[in-house]
Amino acid sequence: MTDVTGMRPLVLVALVVLTACAAGAETTTGDPTTAASDGAVSGDVTVFAGASLTDAFTELGTAFEDANPGTTVTFNFAGSQQLATQITTDGAPADVFASANQTQMDVVGEAALLAGGPVVFARNRLEISVEPGNPAGIATLDDLGRDGIGVVLAADEVPAGRYAREALDAAGVTVRPVSLETDVRAVLTKVSLGEADAGIVYTSDIAAAEDTVEGVAIPDEDNVIAAYLIATLRDAPSAEAARAFVETVRSEKGQETLDAYGFDTP
Protein backbone atom coordinates (compact mmCIF):
# COMPACT_ATOMS: atom_id res chain seq x y z
CA MET A 1 0.00 0.00 0.00
CA THR A 2 2.88 2.34 0.75
CA ASP A 3 4.25 3.97 -2.35
CA VAL A 4 7.15 6.31 -1.75
CA THR A 5 8.38 6.45 -5.31
CA GLY A 6 6.57 9.71 -5.90
CA MET A 7 8.67 11.72 -3.50
CA ARG A 8 10.08 14.88 -4.94
CA PRO A 9 13.12 16.20 -3.07
CA LEU A 10 12.65 19.82 -4.13
CA VAL A 11 9.06 19.87 -2.95
CA LEU A 12 10.18 18.40 0.30
CA VAL A 13 12.71 21.13 0.90
CA ALA A 14 10.06 23.77 0.29
CA LEU A 15 7.71 21.84 2.50
CA VAL A 16 10.16 21.68 5.39
CA VAL A 17 10.57 25.43 5.26
CA LEU A 18 6.83 25.92 5.06
CA THR A 19 5.99 23.61 7.92
CA ALA A 20 8.74 25.14 10.03
CA CYS A 21 7.21 28.56 9.46
CA ALA A 22 3.69 27.32 10.07
CA ALA A 23 4.72 25.50 13.21
CA GLY A 24 6.41 28.65 14.48
CA ALA A 25 3.28 30.66 13.89
CA GLU A 26 0.80 28.22 15.31
CA THR A 27 2.47 26.55 18.24
CA THR A 28 1.54 28.30 21.41
CA THR A 29 2.59 25.99 24.20
CA GLY A 30 5.79 24.12 24.90
CA ASP A 31 7.87 22.65 22.16
CA PRO A 32 5.82 19.79 20.79
CA THR A 33 8.21 19.12 17.92
CA THR A 34 10.88 17.90 20.25
CA ALA A 35 8.29 16.27 22.48
CA ALA A 36 7.19 14.18 19.53
CA SER A 37 10.67 13.16 18.57
CA ASP A 38 12.31 12.48 21.92
CA GLY A 39 9.51 10.30 23.21
CA ALA A 40 8.60 12.51 26.15
CA VAL A 41 4.86 12.04 25.78
CA SER A 42 2.79 9.05 26.70
CA GLY A 43 -0.83 8.02 26.79
CA ASP A 44 -3.55 7.07 24.37
CA VAL A 45 -4.33 9.49 21.57
CA THR A 46 -7.72 9.19 19.93
CA VAL A 47 -7.69 10.69 16.46
CA PHE A 48 -10.89 11.37 14.51
CA ALA A 49 -9.89 11.69 10.88
CA GLY A 50 -11.68 11.99 7.55
CA ALA A 51 -12.00 8.70 5.66
CA SER A 52 -9.60 9.79 2.93
CA LEU A 53 -6.80 9.94 5.52
CA THR A 54 -7.16 6.26 6.42
CA ASP A 55 -3.96 4.92 4.87
CA ALA A 56 -1.67 7.90 5.44
CA PHE A 57 -2.73 8.39 9.06
CA THR A 58 -2.51 4.72 9.88
CA GLU A 59 1.14 4.83 8.86
CA LEU A 60 1.69 8.10 10.71
CA GLY A 61 0.10 6.58 13.81
CA THR A 62 2.50 3.65 13.74
CA ALA A 63 5.44 6.02 13.28
CA PHE A 64 4.19 8.14 16.19
CA GLU A 65 3.91 5.09 18.45
CA ASP A 66 7.40 3.99 17.49
CA ALA A 67 8.84 7.44 18.21
CA ASN A 68 6.98 7.73 21.48
CA PRO A 69 7.09 4.45 23.37
CA GLY A 70 4.19 4.22 25.77
CA THR A 71 1.74 5.91 23.43
CA THR A 72 -1.00 4.27 21.48
CA VAL A 73 -2.95 5.94 18.71
CA THR A 74 -6.55 4.96 18.09
CA PHE A 75 -8.22 6.13 14.91
CA ASN A 76 -11.82 6.73 14.05
CA PHE A 77 -12.03 7.12 10.29
CA ALA A 78 -15.35 8.24 8.81
CA GLY A 79 -16.84 11.05 6.79
CA SER A 80 -15.68 14.31 8.40
CA GLN A 81 -19.33 15.33 8.84
CA GLN A 82 -19.99 12.18 10.89
CA LEU A 83 -16.95 12.84 13.04
CA ALA A 84 -17.97 16.45 13.63
CA THR A 85 -21.40 15.24 14.74
CA GLN A 86 -19.88 12.63 17.02
CA ILE A 87 -17.69 15.26 18.65
CA THR A 88 -20.34 17.96 19.02
CA THR A 89 -23.54 15.97 19.61
CA ASP A 90 -22.30 12.79 21.21
CA GLY A 91 -19.38 14.31 23.12
CA ALA A 92 -17.05 11.66 21.73
CA PRO A 93 -13.78 11.58 23.74
CA ALA A 94 -11.47 12.55 20.89
CA ASP A 95 -8.08 14.23 21.22
CA VAL A 96 -7.48 15.27 17.62
CA PHE A 97 -9.84 16.09 14.77
CA ALA A 98 -8.62 16.07 11.17
CA SER A 99 -11.28 17.31 8.77
CA ALA A 100 -11.29 17.20 5.00
CA ASN A 101 -12.83 20.66 4.81
CA GLN A 102 -13.22 23.92 6.68
CA THR A 103 -17.00 23.53 7.07
CA GLN A 104 -16.83 20.47 9.31
CA MET A 105 -13.94 21.92 11.33
CA ASP A 106 -16.14 24.99 11.82
CA VAL A 107 -18.94 22.80 13.17
CA VAL A 108 -16.64 21.77 16.00
CA GLY A 109 -15.19 25.27 16.29
CA GLU A 110 -18.60 26.86 16.65
CA ALA A 111 -19.37 24.47 19.49
CA ALA A 112 -16.27 25.92 21.19
CA LEU A 113 -14.71 22.46 21.41
CA LEU A 114 -11.35 23.21 19.79
CA ALA A 115 -8.17 23.75 21.80
CA GLY A 116 -5.45 24.55 19.28
CA GLY A 117 -6.42 26.68 16.30
CA PRO A 118 -7.07 24.53 13.23
CA VAL A 119 -4.26 24.54 10.70
CA VAL A 120 -4.15 23.30 7.14
CA PHE A 121 -1.79 20.32 7.04
CA ALA A 122 -2.43 18.88 3.60
CA ARG A 123 -4.25 19.45 0.36
CA ASN A 124 -5.80 17.06 -2.06
CA ARG A 125 -7.14 17.16 -5.59
CA LEU A 126 -10.26 15.63 -7.04
CA GLU A 127 -9.98 12.84 -9.53
CA ILE A 128 -12.49 10.69 -11.36
CA SER A 129 -12.23 7.03 -10.44
CA VAL A 130 -13.27 4.50 -13.04
CA GLU A 131 -13.00 0.76 -13.45
CA PRO A 132 -9.62 -0.55 -14.58
CA GLY A 133 -9.36 -0.16 -18.33
CA ASN A 134 -11.96 2.61 -18.25
CA PRO A 135 -14.62 0.58 -20.12
CA ALA A 136 -17.10 3.46 -20.05
CA GLY A 137 -14.56 5.73 -21.76
CA ILE A 138 -14.72 8.56 -19.23
CA ALA A 139 -12.30 11.35 -20.09
CA THR A 140 -13.77 14.53 -18.60
CA LEU A 141 -16.27 15.75 -16.04
CA ASP A 142 -18.69 16.25 -18.96
CA ASP A 143 -18.72 12.49 -19.52
CA LEU A 144 -20.22 12.02 -16.05
CA GLY A 145 -23.39 13.71 -17.28
CA ARG A 146 -23.85 11.28 -20.16
CA ASP A 147 -26.90 9.04 -20.17
CA GLY A 148 -26.29 5.54 -18.96
CA ILE A 149 -23.23 6.40 -16.89
CA GLY A 150 -23.77 5.30 -13.29
CA VAL A 151 -22.05 7.91 -11.15
CA VAL A 152 -21.58 7.61 -7.41
CA LEU A 153 -20.79 10.69 -5.34
CA ALA A 154 -20.31 11.32 -1.67
CA ALA A 155 -23.37 12.91 -0.05
CA ASP A 156 -23.51 16.71 0.01
CA GLU A 157 -22.67 16.82 3.73
CA VAL A 158 -19.46 14.85 3.13
CA PRO A 159 -16.49 17.11 2.25
CA ALA A 160 -15.68 15.03 -0.85
CA GLY A 161 -19.31 15.33 -1.94
CA ARG A 162 -19.28 19.08 -1.51
CA TYR A 163 -16.01 19.50 -3.42
CA ALA A 164 -17.36 17.28 -6.20
CA ARG A 165 -20.51 19.39 -6.45
CA GLU A 166 -18.39 22.55 -6.65
CA ALA A 167 -16.36 21.07 -9.48
CA LEU A 168 -19.42 19.83 -11.37
CA ASP A 169 -21.26 23.13 -10.93
CA ALA A 170 -18.24 25.12 -12.10
CA ALA A 171 -17.96 22.88 -15.16
CA GLY A 172 -21.70 23.23 -15.77
CA VAL A 173 -22.25 19.47 -15.71
CA THR A 174 -25.52 18.01 -14.45
CA VAL A 175 -25.00 14.63 -12.89
CA ARG A 176 -27.76 12.40 -11.60
CA PRO A 177 -25.85 10.14 -9.22
CA VAL A 178 -27.13 6.62 -8.57
CA SER A 179 -26.03 6.80 -4.94
CA LEU A 180 -24.80 9.32 -2.39
CA GLU A 181 -22.33 7.63 -0.09
CA THR A 182 -21.55 8.50 3.52
CA ASP A 183 -17.83 8.91 2.98
CA VAL A 184 -15.40 9.11 0.09
CA ARG A 185 -14.04 5.60 0.60
CA ALA A 186 -17.52 4.16 0.09
CA VAL A 187 -17.56 5.92 -3.30
CA LEU A 188 -14.25 4.29 -4.14
CA THR A 189 -15.56 0.87 -3.05
CA LYS A 190 -18.61 1.10 -5.29
CA VAL A 191 -16.37 1.82 -8.29
CA SER A 192 -13.75 -0.78 -7.42
CA LEU A 193 -16.49 -3.43 -7.10
CA GLY A 194 -17.65 -2.44 -10.56
CA GLU A 195 -21.12 -1.48 -9.39
CA ALA A 196 -20.75 2.10 -10.56
CA ASP A 197 -19.10 3.38 -13.73
CA ALA A 198 -17.45 6.37 -12.12
CA GLY A 199 -17.12 8.33 -8.93
CA ILE A 200 -15.44 11.53 -7.86
CA VAL A 201 -12.83 10.94 -5.18
CA TYR A 202 -9.48 12.39 -4.15
CA THR A 203 -6.21 11.75 -5.93
CA SER A 204 -4.92 10.16 -2.73
CA ASP A 205 -7.81 7.66 -2.74
CA ILE A 206 -6.89 6.47 -6.20
CA ALA A 207 -3.28 6.02 -5.06
CA ALA A 208 -4.54 4.01 -2.08
CA ALA A 209 -6.82 1.84 -4.20
CA GLU A 210 -3.86 0.68 -6.28
CA ASP A 211 -5.04 -1.48 -9.17
CA THR A 212 -8.70 -1.82 -8.26
CA VAL A 213 -9.61 1.46 -9.90
CA GLU A 214 -8.12 3.75 -12.50
CA GLY A 215 -7.89 7.52 -12.17
CA VAL A 216 -8.97 10.06 -14.75
CA ALA A 217 -7.33 13.39 -13.95
CA ILE A 218 -9.44 16.52 -13.77
CA PRO A 219 -7.61 19.49 -15.33
CA ASP A 220 -6.59 22.30 -12.99
CA GLU A 221 -9.14 24.76 -14.33
CA ASP A 222 -11.98 22.39 -13.43
CA ASN A 223 -10.47 20.98 -10.27
CA VAL A 224 -11.21 21.90 -6.68
CA ILE A 225 -8.40 21.73 -4.17
CA ALA A 226 -9.43 20.24 -0.86
CA ALA A 227 -7.85 21.70 2.26
CA TYR A 228 -7.37 19.39 5.25
CA LEU A 229 -7.36 20.92 8.71
CA ILE A 230 -6.19 19.47 11.97
CA ALA A 231 -6.80 20.64 15.53
CA THR A 232 -6.58 19.41 19.07
CA LEU A 233 -9.82 19.31 21.02
CA ARG A 234 -10.73 21.22 24.15
CA ASP A 235 -11.81 18.16 26.12
CA ALA A 236 -8.92 16.01 24.91
CA PRO A 237 -8.23 13.31 27.50
CA SER A 238 -4.57 13.25 26.36
CA ALA A 239 -3.92 16.88 25.52
CA GLU A 240 -0.14 16.72 25.49
CA ALA A 241 0.06 13.61 23.34
CA ALA A 242 -2.59 15.14 21.08
CA ARG A 243 -0.37 18.18 20.42
CA ALA A 244 2.57 15.87 19.78
CA PHE A 245 0.55 13.90 17.24
CA VAL A 246 -0.43 17.08 15.41
CA GLU A 247 3.21 18.06 15.30
CA THR A 248 4.12 14.65 13.91
CA VAL A 249 1.59 15.12 11.12
CA ARG A 250 3.02 18.55 10.33
CA SER A 251 6.64 17.50 10.68
CA GLU A 252 8.90 16.87 7.72
CA LYS A 253 8.48 13.14 8.14
CA GLY A 254 4.73 13.46 8.42
CA GLN A 255 4.52 15.55 5.29
CA GLU A 256 6.70 13.03 3.46
CA THR A 257 4.27 10.31 4.40
CA LEU A 258 1.28 12.34 3.26
CA ASP A 259 3.06 13.12 0.01
CA ALA A 260 3.77 9.44 -0.54
CA TYR A 261 0.07 8.76 -0.21
CA GLY A 262 -0.82 11.28 -2.88
CA PHE A 263 -1.60 14.35 -0.80
CA ASP A 264 -0.26 17.79 -1.64
CA THR A 265 1.51 20.09 0.79
CA PRO A 266 -0.38 22.90 2.47
Partner: protein, 267 residues
Protein backbone atom coordinates in the same frame (compact mmCIF):
# COMPACT_ATOMS: atom_id res chain seq x y z
CA UNK B 1 -52.17 -17.67 40.28
CA UNK B 2 -51.51 -14.24 41.77
CA UNK B 3 -50.53 -15.77 45.07
CA UNK B 4 -48.19 -18.17 43.31
CA UNK B 5 -46.36 -15.30 41.61
CA UNK B 6 -45.98 -13.42 44.86
CA UNK B 7 -44.43 -16.34 46.65
CA UNK B 8 -42.10 -16.92 43.70
CA UNK B 9 -40.99 -13.28 43.72
CA UNK B 10 -40.29 -13.44 47.43
CA UNK B 11 -37.72 -16.14 46.82
CA UNK B 12 -35.66 -14.08 44.37
CA UNK B 13 -32.31 -12.87 45.74
CA UNK B 14 -31.92 -9.11 46.00
CA UNK B 15 -28.97 -9.18 43.58
CA UNK B 16 -31.03 -10.76 40.83
CA UNK B 17 -33.77 -8.21 41.38
CA UNK B 18 -31.30 -5.31 41.20
CA UNK B 19 -29.77 -6.61 37.98
CA UNK B 20 -33.21 -7.14 36.50
CA UNK B 21 -34.12 -3.55 37.29
CA UNK B 22 -30.79 -2.38 35.85
CA UNK B 23 -31.56 -4.29 32.65
CA UNK B 24 -34.96 -2.66 32.20
CA UNK B 25 -33.49 0.80 32.90
CA UNK B 26 -30.76 0.10 30.34
CA UNK B 27 -33.34 -0.96 27.75
CA UNK B 28 -35.76 1.91 28.27
CA UNK B 29 -33.44 4.85 28.95
CA UNK B 30 -32.42 5.33 25.29
CA UNK B 31 -36.08 5.34 24.26
CA UNK B 32 -36.86 7.98 26.86
CA UNK B 33 -33.91 10.02 25.62
CA UNK B 34 -35.21 9.81 22.07
CA UNK B 35 -38.75 10.75 23.10
CA UNK B 36 -37.50 13.75 25.09
CA UNK B 37 -35.32 15.07 22.25
CA UNK B 38 -37.98 14.71 19.58
CA UNK B 39 -39.23 18.16 18.55
CA UNK B 40 -42.91 17.34 18.98
CA UNK B 41 -43.98 20.91 18.18
CA UNK B 42 -42.41 20.58 14.72
CA UNK B 43 -43.88 17.20 13.90
CA UNK B 44 -46.47 18.51 11.43
CA UNK B 45 -43.86 20.57 9.52
CA UNK B 46 -41.28 17.82 9.57
CA UNK B 47 -43.79 15.29 8.30
CA UNK B 48 -44.27 17.34 5.15
CA UNK B 49 -40.56 17.67 4.41
CA UNK B 50 -39.80 16.06 1.04
CA UNK B 51 -36.93 14.08 2.49
CA UNK B 52 -39.08 12.59 5.26
CA UNK B 53 -41.98 11.91 2.90
CA UNK B 54 -39.80 10.22 0.31
CA UNK B 55 -38.16 8.03 2.94
CA UNK B 56 -41.55 7.13 4.40
CA UNK B 57 -43.06 6.24 1.05
CA UNK B 58 -40.05 4.24 -0.08
CA UNK B 59 -39.86 2.39 3.24
CA UNK B 60 -43.54 1.42 3.06
CA UNK B 61 -43.34 0.26 -0.55
CA UNK B 62 -40.08 -1.65 -0.13
CA UNK B 63 -40.93 -3.30 3.19
CA UNK B 64 -44.38 -4.42 1.98
CA UNK B 65 -42.92 -5.74 -1.27
CA UNK B 66 -40.26 -7.61 0.65
CA UNK B 67 -42.94 -9.00 2.98
CA UNK B 68 -44.83 -10.29 -0.06
CA UNK B 69 -41.68 -11.83 -1.53
CA UNK B 70 -40.71 -13.35 1.81
CA UNK B 71 -44.19 -14.83 2.23
CA UNK B 72 -44.30 -16.36 -1.24
CA UNK B 73 -40.87 -17.94 -0.79
CA UNK B 74 -40.71 -18.35 2.98
CA UNK B 75 -43.95 -20.20 3.70
CA UNK B 76 -43.14 -23.05 1.28
CA UNK B 77 -39.65 -23.28 2.78
CA UNK B 78 -41.11 -23.42 6.30
CA UNK B 79 -43.43 -26.15 5.06
CA UNK B 80 -40.57 -28.22 3.67
CA UNK B 81 -38.56 -27.77 6.85
CA UNK B 82 -41.46 -28.74 9.10
CA UNK B 83 -43.04 -31.55 7.14
CA UNK B 84 -40.42 -33.33 5.13
CA UNK B 85 -37.30 -35.16 6.05
CA UNK B 86 -34.81 -34.81 3.25
CA UNK B 87 -31.07 -35.30 3.48
CA UNK B 88 -29.36 -32.15 4.67
CA UNK B 89 -32.53 -30.67 6.13
CA UNK B 90 -30.68 -29.42 9.21
CA UNK B 91 -28.10 -27.73 7.03
CA UNK B 92 -30.82 -26.10 4.98
CA UNK B 93 -32.47 -24.81 8.12
CA UNK B 94 -29.16 -23.44 9.40
CA UNK B 95 -28.64 -21.62 6.10
CA UNK B 96 -32.18 -20.27 6.16
CA UNK B 97 -31.72 -18.90 9.67
CA UNK B 98 -28.20 -17.57 9.12
CA UNK B 99 -29.22 -14.05 8.02
CA UNK B 100 -30.86 -13.60 11.46
CA UNK B 101 -27.46 -13.70 13.14
CA UNK B 102 -25.30 -12.52 10.25
CA UNK B 103 -24.24 -8.86 10.50
CA UNK B 104 -26.47 -7.16 7.90
CA UNK B 105 -23.52 -5.36 6.34
CA UNK B 106 -21.97 -8.76 5.62
CA UNK B 107 -25.26 -9.72 4.02
CA UNK B 108 -24.96 -6.61 1.87
CA UNK B 109 -21.44 -7.46 0.78
CA UNK B 110 -22.51 -11.03 0.00
CA UNK B 111 -25.44 -9.76 -2.04
CA UNK B 112 -23.10 -7.47 -4.00
CA UNK B 113 -20.77 -10.35 -4.76
CA UNK B 114 -23.66 -12.55 -5.86
CA UNK B 115 -26.17 -10.18 -7.42
CA UNK B 116 -24.17 -7.04 -8.13
CA UNK B 117 -23.28 -5.91 -11.63
CA UNK B 118 -19.98 -7.79 -11.40
CA UNK B 119 -21.40 -10.46 -9.09
CA UNK B 120 -21.57 -14.19 -9.71
CA UNK B 121 -25.15 -14.13 -11.04
CA UNK B 122 -25.57 -10.41 -11.36
CA UNK B 123 -23.12 -10.22 -14.26
CA UNK B 124 -25.21 -12.71 -16.21
CA UNK B 125 -28.27 -10.56 -15.63
CA UNK B 126 -26.34 -7.43 -16.55
CA UNK B 127 -24.93 -8.97 -19.72
CA UNK B 128 -28.39 -10.06 -20.81
CA UNK B 129 -30.38 -6.97 -19.88
CA UNK B 130 -27.95 -4.14 -19.14
CA UNK B 131 -29.66 -3.82 -15.80
CA UNK B 132 -28.37 -4.53 -12.30
CA UNK B 133 -29.93 -4.56 -8.85
CA UNK B 134 -27.59 -2.23 -6.90
CA UNK B 135 -28.78 1.38 -6.56
CA UNK B 136 -32.38 0.43 -7.42
CA UNK B 137 -35.55 0.05 -5.36
CA UNK B 138 -35.75 -3.66 -6.29
CA UNK B 139 -32.24 -3.86 -4.82
CA UNK B 140 -33.62 -2.47 -1.56
CA UNK B 141 -36.39 -5.07 -1.62
CA UNK B 142 -33.89 -7.87 -2.20
CA UNK B 143 -31.68 -6.68 0.66
CA UNK B 144 -34.65 -6.39 3.03
CA UNK B 145 -36.00 -9.79 2.04
CA UNK B 146 -32.63 -11.43 2.58
CA UNK B 147 -32.44 -10.12 6.11
CA UNK B 148 -36.12 -10.40 7.09
CA UNK B 149 -37.36 -13.66 5.54
CA UNK B 150 -35.76 -15.95 8.15
CA UNK B 151 -38.00 -14.42 10.82
CA UNK B 152 -41.04 -15.53 8.84
CA UNK B 153 -39.59 -18.96 8.08
CA UNK B 154 -38.77 -19.88 11.68
CA UNK B 155 -42.08 -18.59 13.03
CA UNK B 156 -44.20 -20.40 10.45
CA UNK B 157 -42.13 -23.56 10.77
CA UNK B 158 -42.69 -23.58 14.53
CA UNK B 159 -46.43 -23.12 13.93
CA UNK B 160 -46.52 -26.04 11.51
CA UNK B 161 -44.62 -28.27 13.91
CA UNK B 162 -47.03 -27.46 16.72
CA UNK B 163 -49.97 -28.32 14.50
CA UNK B 164 -51.51 -31.73 15.16
CA UNK B 165 -51.34 -33.51 11.77
CA UNK B 166 -54.41 -35.57 12.66
CA UNK B 167 -56.65 -32.62 11.75
CA UNK B 168 -55.24 -32.66 8.24
CA UNK B 169 -55.35 -36.46 8.07
CA UNK B 170 -59.00 -36.40 9.13
CA UNK B 171 -59.84 -33.91 6.40
CA UNK B 172 -57.96 -36.01 3.86
CA UNK B 173 -59.76 -39.24 4.82
CA UNK B 174 -63.03 -37.37 4.39
CA UNK B 175 -62.04 -36.86 0.77
CA UNK B 176 -60.61 -33.36 0.78
CA UNK B 177 -57.95 -32.70 -1.83
CA UNK B 178 -54.48 -31.51 -0.77
CA UNK B 179 -55.27 -27.92 -1.72
CA UNK B 180 -58.60 -28.04 0.14
CA UNK B 181 -56.84 -29.33 3.25
CA UNK B 182 -54.24 -26.58 2.95
CA UNK B 183 -56.85 -23.89 2.44
CA UNK B 184 -59.50 -24.98 4.94
CA UNK B 185 -57.50 -26.75 7.66
CA UNK B 186 -53.79 -26.00 7.68
CA UNK B 187 -53.70 -22.29 6.91
CA UNK B 188 -56.50 -21.36 9.36
CA UNK B 189 -54.78 -23.39 12.09
CA UNK B 190 -51.39 -21.77 11.58
CA UNK B 191 -52.89 -18.31 11.05
CA UNK B 192 -51.54 -16.97 14.37
CA UNK B 193 -48.01 -18.11 13.54
CA UNK B 194 -48.30 -16.83 10.01
CA UNK B 195 -49.48 -13.42 11.22
CA UNK B 196 -46.73 -13.23 13.81
CA UNK B 197 -44.11 -14.29 11.28
CA UNK B 198 -45.32 -11.72 8.78
CA UNK B 199 -45.36 -8.96 11.40
CA UNK B 200 -41.82 -9.77 12.54
CA UNK B 201 -40.64 -10.03 8.96
CA UNK B 202 -42.19 -6.70 8.02
CA UNK B 203 -40.79 -4.92 11.07
CA UNK B 204 -37.33 -6.28 10.35
CA UNK B 205 -37.57 -5.26 6.70
CA UNK B 206 -38.70 -1.77 7.69
CA UNK B 207 -35.75 -1.37 10.02
CA UNK B 208 -33.15 -2.82 7.67
CA UNK B 209 -30.05 -0.66 7.34
CA UNK B 210 -26.71 -2.42 6.86
CA UNK B 211 -27.50 -4.67 3.93
CA UNK B 212 -29.50 -1.92 2.23
CA UNK B 213 -26.84 0.80 2.34
CA UNK B 214 -24.16 -1.68 1.28
CA UNK B 215 -26.07 -3.32 -1.55
CA UNK B 216 -28.46 -0.63 -2.73
CA UNK B 217 -26.56 2.53 -1.82
CA UNK B 218 -28.25 5.72 -0.72
CA UNK B 219 -30.35 7.90 -2.97
CA UNK B 220 -33.38 9.83 -1.70
CA UNK B 221 -36.58 8.57 -3.29
CA UNK B 222 -34.97 5.48 -4.74
CA UNK B 223 -32.95 3.63 -2.13
CA UNK B 224 -32.89 5.91 0.92
CA UNK B 225 -35.25 4.17 3.34
CA UNK B 226 -36.17 5.57 6.76
CA UNK B 227 -33.25 4.04 8.67
CA UNK B 228 -30.80 5.39 6.06
CA UNK B 229 -32.42 8.81 6.27
CA UNK B 230 -32.11 8.71 10.07
CA UNK B 231 -28.42 7.93 9.79
CA UNK B 232 -27.68 10.61 7.21
CA UNK B 233 -29.90 13.35 8.55
CA UNK B 234 -28.43 13.08 12.02
CA UNK B 235 -25.64 15.34 10.79
CA UNK B 236 -27.50 17.92 8.75
CA UNK B 237 -31.05 17.82 10.07
CA UNK B 238 -31.20 16.17 13.50
CA UNK B 239 -34.85 17.11 14.07
CA UNK B 240 -35.90 15.09 11.02
CA UNK B 241 -33.70 12.20 12.15
CA UNK B 242 -35.33 12.17 15.60
CA UNK B 243 -38.78 12.28 14.08
CA UNK B 244 -38.08 9.39 11.71
CA UNK B 245 -36.62 7.47 14.65
CA UNK B 246 -39.77 8.03 16.67
CA UNK B 247 -41.91 6.87 13.74
CA UNK B 248 -39.89 3.66 13.51
CA UNK B 249 -40.19 3.24 17.28
CA UNK B 250 -43.98 3.67 17.13
CA UNK B 251 -44.19 1.07 14.35
CA UNK B 252 -42.11 -1.34 16.43
CA UNK B 253 -44.37 -0.85 19.44
CA UNK B 254 -47.41 -1.34 17.24
CA UNK B 255 -46.02 -4.64 15.99
CA UNK B 256 -45.40 -5.77 19.57
CA UNK B 257 -48.88 -4.78 20.65
CA UNK B 258 -50.30 -6.55 17.62
CA UNK B 259 -48.54 -9.72 18.73
CA UNK B 260 -49.21 -9.24 22.43
CA UNK B 261 -50.39 -12.82 22.83
CA UNK B 262 -46.96 -13.98 21.76
CA UNK B 263 -44.67 -11.46 23.45
CA UNK B 264 -46.57 -9.40 25.99
CA UNK B 265 -49.06 -11.94 27.30
CA UNK B 266 -49.01 -13.65 30.69
CA UNK B 267 -46.87 -16.75 30.78
Amino acid sequence: MTRGQESTAAGIPAGVRALGVAAIVFLTLPLIGLALRTPWDQVSTLLTEPLVLRALRLSLVASLASLALASVLGVPLAWLLARTDFPGRRLVRALAVLPMVLPPVVGGVALLLALGRRGLFGQVLFAATGWALPFTTPGVIVAETFVAMPFLVVTVEAGLRALDPRFEEAAATLGASRWTVLRTVTLPLIAPSLTAGMALCWARALGEFGATITFAGNLPGRTQTMPLAVYLELESNPAAAYLLSILLLVVSIAVLVGMRDRYLGSP
